[in-house]
């Protein structure tokens, strides 16, 4: 541990994999019906992480802005797809993907670039060892917030369409007619992040800090990085959810302020 991290051999990972197989066998024998999913998810973990390992090795060796930008773009599009597929009643005509992707782009990319240039300041600013993990954490959390917010918004509008129209009939502005549903959507998008900040260090040791400590960083520095990342995540998720919920609720109404549930696909 004196300099850096203890080497981990593939056969040592095999021991952990055997434990997963053992768990799968146990659930199979107990007819809990999780064995298949467990094996598939475990296999996916190995393949996906192995691939990303190769990609990152190559990216770190090249360290060219255009390759890092391409990587960031791929990450963004995958996150956009994920946001779309997590919604029960998604907006039709590419709007679910578009609103999700745009709001993540605006918030995650802005916050990541800001943190790299102004706060952390690696040379060059896009140094992949910093840029890629930071962007990954931002996107991962913003994605959760945006997906939860949009899902809650569209589902809420669907379930409460009578209330929304009842308000419109009384002459309320569309903004006022969905105000409480927007508030709910915003809340569901932000709550996981707020909970994570509240529980940090007490209930859970956040993953990034744990990783840095394992890699031999002094805990005091690891804590500073973790606080920075937590704040950035809160800001990114918050602004991302604001943009997504605002654009999404606008899209639920047309220019004559009619509730347009026909713009949502049914489950």
């Amino acid at each position: 541990m004196q300099d850096g991290i203890i080497e981990l051999a593939w056969w040592e990972l095999g021991i952990a994999a055997l434990l997963v197989v053992a768990l799968a066998v146990t659930t199979h024998l107990g007819r809990l019906g999780l064995a298949r999913e467990l094996v598939i998810a475990g296999t996916r973990t190995v393949i996906q992480l192995a691939i990303i390992g190769f990609v990152l090795e190559a990216l770190f060796a090249v360290a060219a802005l255009r390759w890092i930008a391409l990587m960031a773009l791929v990450m963004l599009l995958v996150a956009g797809y994920e946001v779309m597929s997590r919604q029960k009643r998604r907006m039709t005509g590419g709007w679910a993907f578009g609103i999700g992707t745009l709001s993540m782009f605006l918030s995650s990319f802005t916050v990541t670039v800001l943190a790299l240039v102004v706060i952390i300041g690696p040379q060059p600013w896009y140094m992949p060892q910093y840029a890629i993990p930071l962007l990954g954490m931002m996107l991962g959390n913003t994605m959760t917030g945006v997906a939860l917010g949009l899902d809650r918004l569209t589902d809420g509008a669907w379930r409460q369409s009578q209330v929304i129209e009842g308000r419109l009939m009384l002459g309320m502005h569309w903004h006022e007619a969905v105000a409480d549903i927007r508030r709910d959507a915003m809340r569901s998008g932000m709550i996981p992040t707020i909970n994570a900040m509240a529980a940090a260090g007490v209930v859970s040791l956040p993953g990034m800090m744990t990783g840095q400590i394992l890699a031999g960083a002094p805990p005091a520095l690891a804590v500073k990085y973790q606080i920075l990342v937590m704040f950035l995540i809160a800001v990114g998720t918050g602004f991302g959810t604001v943009v997504a919920v605002s654009a999404g609720s606008r899209r639920l109404f047309d220019q004559r302020q009619r509730l347009r549930l026909d713009r949502l696909s049914s489950a």
């Binding site: 002459g171 569309w174 047309d254 302020q257």
Partner: protein, 202 residues
């Protein structure tokens, strides 16, 4: 107050609907289920895409922001929806005498929405709209859940309100006797158009 005018309105199965409800007039509208009565009311309130022109006096529907149009031309649906916990939260200042006129005690304003009966909800739905002082009213079967005596009170109050304030009312109704009591004129939906006068089947 101004008349409500429909010029060549088309929505759903309806085509070329021309109709004027004059200031202070109650016009009844009937038609079979699915004939498009409710959709026509929704189109007049601009809640449904439609063709043609709709005017309140000289004011065109599309010349106003939709929320301001709906504040003037107010639709009261057959089923009212409630979101607050007490009745009062849904009201602006109730029209003086309207609660009593509808057979409700003024204390109803403090009640929980959850304990309202369907008849109370229906009457309060109309009163809630009136509390916003609309200049035209679209009523979709406003007495469907009321007993005979209460129905009469509500009819009388609304009729005299229309006269007093000059508010045009378009009233969807099925009962021929009610239509003859409240309606100055009566139209029935037949196919894609309106026909003046009764239909025996209601």
């Amino acid at each position: 107050m101004d008349a409500l005018t429909l010029e060549a309105v088309a929505v759903g199965p309806l085509r070329e609907i021309n109709l004027t409800v004059r200031s202070g007039e109650v016009v009844c509208l009937s038609g079979a289920s699915g004939s498009g009565k409710s959709r026509l009311l929704r189109a007049i309130a601009d809640l449904e895409p439609h063709a043609g022109r709709i005017l309140l006096g000289d004011l065109r529907q599309d010349a106003l922001a939709a929320d301001r149009w709906r504040a003037r031309v107010m639709l009261v649906p057959a089923e009212s929806s409630w979101w607050g916990s007490t009745v009062a939260e849904h009201f602006l200042e109730p029209v003086p005498g309207s609660l009593e006129g509808f057979g409700l005690s003024p204390a109803v304003m403090d009640w929980d929405v959850a304990r309202l009966s369907s008849g109370e909800k229906q009457r309060l739905g109309v009163l809630r709209a009136l509390s916003r002082r609309p200049r035209a009213l679209l009523l979709d079967e406003p007495t469907a859940n009321l007993d005979t005596a209460t129905t009469r009170r509500v009819e009388q109050w609304l009729r005299s309100h229309a006269r007093r304030e000059g508010v045009p009312i378009l009233w969807v109704a099925h009962d021929p006797e009610q239509i003859s009591r409240v309606g100055d004129r009566h139209f029935t939906i037949r196919g894609s158009g309106l026909r003046e006068g009764g239909c025996r089947t209601g």
